[in-house]
Symmetry: C2
Amino acid sequence: MTSTADSPTRPLRRDAARNRRLLLDAGREVFAARGLEATLDEIAHHAGVGVGTAYRHFANKQELAAAIFADDFEQLAASARAALEVDDPWQALVGFIETTVAKQADDRGLHELMTAGTMAEQPIHVDGKLETMRDALFEPVTALVERAKKNGCLRADAAPTDIAAILFMMGVNFTMSEAVGRPVWKRYLWLLLDGLRATPCGKLPVEALDFDELQTALTAAKKH
Amino acid sequence: MTSTADSPTRPLRRDAARNRRLLLDAGREVFAARGLEATLDEIAHHAGVGVGTAYRHFANKQELAAAIFADDFEQLAASARAALEVDDPWQALVGFIETTVAKQADDRGLHELMTAGTMAEQPIHVDGKLETMRDALFEPVTALVERAKKNGCLRADAAPTDIAAILFMMGVNFTMSEAVGRPVWKRYLWLLLDGLRATPCGKLPVEALDFDELQTALTAAKKH
DNA sequence: GAGTAACCGGAGTATCAATCTCCGAATCAA
DNA sequence: TTGATTCGGAGATTGATACTCCGGTTACTC
């Protein structure tokens, strides 16, 4: 009922606008640090604002998250497109992966949103929008992978979905890195990338995921 | 108060003994399928027994888990010692890793226990015993790693703790495999192992964990 | 085959955490 | 100044899990 966002009915009162801003900023910080399981109460508190205020501005956590993470997704997509312009196909692929992973290493919330369902404890359904944006990433990624494969520096039996799988695996490394206080995730990303390099080692066992399966994996919610 | 286990005071009555057995079996199955977050209520039900009965035999989930998983840990240790007897150092290492991971792929509970704190949502503290057994695994593993490195088939900058890290990473792959209905985890284990092979690819970035850090990672509980 | 100690079952209690509401008080803007 | 809007945060609501309690049953014993 309370006018929550859009609908250009009326400009916000000054205090309302300020608080909205505060909430968005706090949300960004808290989600980054604690992941999506952070509470709206928590975020409100961190913003120095009452819970009621939080719920007046955003119907729930999901809505706040959507407002916050839209940009980040856009940035990732942009960096994927940019990678396609890089000359060396291997560098293009690896560069993209590295920036993507690095961004998620700094932002637990972003990572959980990207891997929601598979990795995240309590999959959040920020319905539609963000999921669509995430899925849109697979197009440029596929291009990057194919190019690197044709060029011969990426092993022939690699698949685009493997990149997603690598992202999933990074999750644990993020928690580990945080616990330990240094970016150990880089080590294991590197290890995986070395595994992806074309080498005289024989084929990978088991087929890669196809896109449907990846979808399944992404939406596999914790069963009742 | 209720005589819970040991203390050779008196043999259990027949029905009690039967139910205890049923609970252990059910526990094994349920933990394997649903992980350690399964409820004692749930297990009791699956055993076809009342909740009260469950709590009379085991003070809580932890106690049941300890009773169940002791063997599994013992088996892992045995397979590590066995691996040390294998001639080819690379095969020895890889073989051990594969059986370990395979066992955990079939048993979510076991995996959560091995990686508790880092991977598991709600780290269970089965105090002492199991943790000790788990930690004891690192001795033979270190030996396996050193041997494979000396032999030249394992990359020189690999560390024993890397094996643990690989185990952590497998967690997501297990959920993924389950969601998708085929053992995709094998693919990514293989990928990681290929990354571990000695190849002309340059050193890994970032030092490996030392044992203290690994300990930290293992016990890093989800903060309040 | 009767008595009793041990055990069973599961409804019910206790606890905890997260989500969201409500309303008196404070704030803005006309 | 005044009324519409927004604030704040105590607490109602919901849902999950952990564990207890006790009337009734079962299995040993003599």
